[in-house]
Symmetry: C2
C-alpha cells in the first residue's frame, strides 16, 4: 500500500473525456490497493479567460477580487473530477482551499501555504475515498480566497503530499518529463531520467514551465519524492531526487529560458547609502519580485544607473510604483524594455568545475549575441539577452555543453 498524490494540470483536464481519463487513473491506483488524492488545475484556457476578464475591467486590479475570480476554474474541475470518479464506483469528494482548509498568508495572487488540515482527508482516504483537491488556491485571513500564482497547483500537490505524508507526488502534465531544454525549440533536447532538487529548482525558477518553483522548494524541504510524467501515457517520467541518488552527474543538466522577464533601467540615481532600499522597498511592499540587479560603477561619484528585471506582468505596476517615488528617491528617467529573455545554464557539476560560464559567453559571442545582464549562483549562470535571439542562443548552448541527443 502506498499513499500517492497525483496532480493533473490544465491540459490534462481540458475536456470531459480527459477528466474521465484522470478518473480512471485514480481508480487504477485504488484498485492496486493504494490510497490516492488528486490535485487538479482549471481546464486549459479557463484561467487565461478569467485573467483576461480582470484585465478588461482594471489594470491595477484588486488582488483579493482577482483571486476570488480566478480560483473558480479549479472549483469546476475538482467537482467534475470527483463526479467522474464516483461514476466509476469509487467514493470521491471535491475539496476547495477553504474547505480543507489550506491556510495561506495574505499575499493575494502569490500566496504561500502555511499549513494544511489533513486529518479529515487522511481519515477518508483510509476508508477508500479519493479526495479531489482544487489546486492553486487557499484561504487567507478574513475568509478571503487566495491563489498561489500561476502553476500554483504544483505547489498545492507537493504541500498536500507533505501534509498527507505521501510516498510520492506525481505531477502529470502534457510533457513526459524534464528535458535538457525546451524540445519545441531544440529538436535535439533529451529527456532526463533523474534530476536533483536543486537543479530542478533552478530550471523551474529560470523559466522551465514544467514545475512551479515553490513546489520544488517545498518538495526539497519536506523530502517529497517527485515525479514529472505524462498524463496521457504510462511511460515513467523524470524523478526529482537528492543529489546522492544520481551516480554520474553531467556538468550541465539543462538550459532554461524565461520570456517573462522585463528590464527596467533607472538613470542618474543618487549614489548614496539607502537608495537601493528606497527603490526596492516599495516594490517589495507591492509584492513585486525583483530578479537580476546590476548597479553600474558611478562615473561621477554622484549618480549611477541601476538595471533590474521584474516579471512582464509586474512591469506596469513596478513603473507606476517607482514613478510615485521619483522625487523622494531621486533618479532621472525610467527606461523599460519587455523584449528581453533570460537564458540560464544549470548543473550541480558547476560547483567543482571551472570554465562553465566562460563556455557560455564564448558560445553567445560566436553568434554575435550581446549580453545585457549577467547573474550567477552556485549551480547556474544566467544572462539577459534580446528576445529575438532566444532560439539561436538555446541551440548554440545546447550544442556547446554537449547535451545534444545522438
Amino acid at each position: 500500500m502506498a499513499r500517492i498524490v497525483k496532480k493533473f494540470g490544465g491540459t490534462s483536464v481540458a475536456d470531459i473525456e480527459k477528466i474521465q481519463a484522470v478518473a480512471r487513473r485514480a481508480k487504477a491506483e485504488v484498485d492496486a490497493g493504494n490510497q490516492v488524492a488528486l490535485v487538479v488545475s482549471a481546464m486549459a484556457g479557463v484561467t487565461n479567460q478569467l485573467v483576461a476578464y480582470v484585465h478588461d475591467i482594471s489594470r491595477l486590479y484588486d488582488a483579493r477580487e482577482y483571486d476570488s475570480v480566478v480560483a473558480s476554474g479549479e472549483q469546476v474541475t475538482a467537482g467534475l473530477t470527483a463526479m467522474a470518479i464516483q461514476e466509476l464506483g469509487v467514493p470521491s469528494r471535491s475539496w476547495l482551499g477553504w474547505q480543507i482548509s489550506v491556510h495561506t498568508d495574505d499575499a493575494h495572487g502569490k500566496a504561500r501555504i502555511e499549513s494544511i488540515d489533513s486529518d479529515e482527508l487522511i481519515r477518508r482516504m483510509e476508508q477508500g475515498e479519493v479526495p479531489v483537491v482544487a489546486g492553486f488556491q487557499g484561504i487567507g485571513s478574513n475568509s478571503r480566497i487566495t491563489t498561489l500564482g500561476r502553476g500554483g497547483s504544483d505547489t498545492s500537490a507537493v504541500a498536500l503530499a507533505a501534509a498527507l505524508k505521501a510516498d510520492r507526488c506525481d505531477i502529470h502534465t502534457d510533457v513526459d518529463g524534464v528535458y535538457t531544454t525546451d524540445p519545441r525549440i531544440v529538436a535535439k533536447a533529451r529527456k532526463l531520467d533523474k534530476i536533483t532538487y536543486e537543479e530542478m529548482l533552478e530550471m523551474a525558477s529560470l523559466g522551465a514551465k514544467v514545475l512551479q518553483t515553490r513546489s520544488v522548494e517545498l518538495a526539497m524541504k519536506h523530502n517529497v519524492r517527485l515525479q514529472v510524467l505524462s498524463s496521457f501515457t504510462d511511460e515513467p517520467g523524470t524523478l526529482v531526487v537528492n543529489e546522492d541518488e544520481i551516480v554520474e552527474q553531467e556538468l550541465v543538466s539543462g538550459i532554461a529560458y524565461s520570456r517573462d522577464e522585463a528590464k527596467i533601467t533607472l538613470t542618474r540615481v543618487s549614489d548614496k547609502p539607502g537608495v537601493a532600499a528606497g527603490l526596492f522597498g516599495p516594490l517589495a511592499d507591492a509584492s513585486i519580485n525583483v530578479d537580476m540587479i546590476v548597479q553600474n560603477v558611478s562615473a561621477d561619484g554622484k549618480t549611477t544607473d541601476i538595471t533590474f528585471t521584474v516579471t512582464k506582468s509586474d512591469l506596469e505596476r513596478a513603473v507606476a510604483t517607482l514613478e510615485e517615488r521619483q522625487s523622494e528617491v531621486g533618479f532621472g528617467d525610467i527606461l523599460s524594455d519587455p523584449n528581453v529573455v533570460k537564458v540560464s545554464v544549470i548543473g550541480v557539476g558547476m560547483r567543482s568545475h571551472a570554465g562553465i560560464a566562460q563556455r557560455m559567453f564564448q558560445a553567445l559571442a560566436e553568434k554575435g549575441i550581446n549580453i545585457q545582464v549577467i547573474s550567477t549562483s552556485e549551480i547556474k549562470v544566467s544572462v539577459l539577452i534580446s528576445e529575438e535571439y532566444t532560439e539561436l542562443a538555446l541551440r548554440s548552448l545546447h550544442t556547446a555543453y554537449g547535451l545534444d541527443a545522438e
Copy 2:
C-alpha cells in the same frame, strides 16, 4: 437615504461592458446618497455550460458536487463586478455564500436559505462600501456549497433585502417588467404596472421566468417591496405589492406556461391505503417535486392509474426511483411523456367570480386542444396539454380573457 438591494441576472452581466454598466448603476445610487448592495448571477450561458459538463459526466450526478461546480459562475461575476465598482472610485467587495454566510439547509440543487449574517455587510454599507453578493449560492452543514435552484439569485436578493431591512429590492432583468403573458409568443401581451404578491407567486411558479417562485414567497413573507425592471433602460418596471395597493383588479392578470413539466403515468396501481405515500414518499426523499396529481377512479376496485407531473430535469431520476419500488408498491407500467406544457390563467379576481375556468376549457375546446390534467387553486386554473399547442393556447386564452393590448 434609502437602502436598496439590486439584483442583476445573467443577461445583465453577460460581458465586461454590461458588468461595467451595472457598476455605473451602483455608483449612481451611492452618489444619490443611498446604500446599495448588489446580487449578481453568472454571466449568461456560463451556468448552462457548467450544467452540460455535469450531464456529460453523470446522469445521476452527486448534487453536492453539482452545487460546487455551478456555484463558480456567480463567483466570477461577483469578483468582476466588485472590481468594476472599485474602478469607478467606490469601495466594493465581493461576497460568496460561505463568506457572508448565507446559511441554507442541505437540499443540494434546491436549498432554502435559513438565515443570512448581515451585520458585517450593514457595517460596510454604512461606510459607503458596495457589497456584491454572489447570487444562487449558500452554505449548508459540513461547509459544503449549496445552490438554490435555477433563478435562485432572485431569492438571494430578496433574502438579502429582508436581512438588510432594505427599503426596496430591484430585480433587474432582460425584460422591462411583468407581462400579461410571454410577449415573445403573444404579440398583444401588455406590461403590468402592478401585480399582487399572490399573482406573481402563481405566475412564477407556473413558468413565467421573470422571478423565481421562492423569491416572491420570501418577499410576501417579509413584506419586501419588489420591483421587476430592465437592466438596460431607466423606465419604471412592474411593482409587486400587496393586494390592497391595487385599486382596479382585473379578473385575470396573466397567463403563464411551463415547458419544464413532464408527465408520468403509473398503470394498474394497487388501489389500497398507503399506496400514494409509498409512491410519493421516495420521490420526496430524492428531493423530487411532484406537481399535478390525478388519480382515476378505480374501474375494478383493485387497481387504478395515477398520473402526475415532475420537472423535466427530474424525470429520469423520478422514473429510476419508482422502478426501484415497483415490486414493493405494486404497479404495472411506468409511462413517461416529456412533451407536455402546463398553461395557467391567474388572477385574484377569481376568488369572487365564477366561470373563469369554464371560459378556459371552452377557449381550448374551440381550438381542438385536448386537456390531459387539470388542477386549480384559489387564484389560478392550470391545464396540462400537448406541448405542440403551446402558442395556440396562449394566444387563444389571452384573447378570451380580454387581455389583448389595444
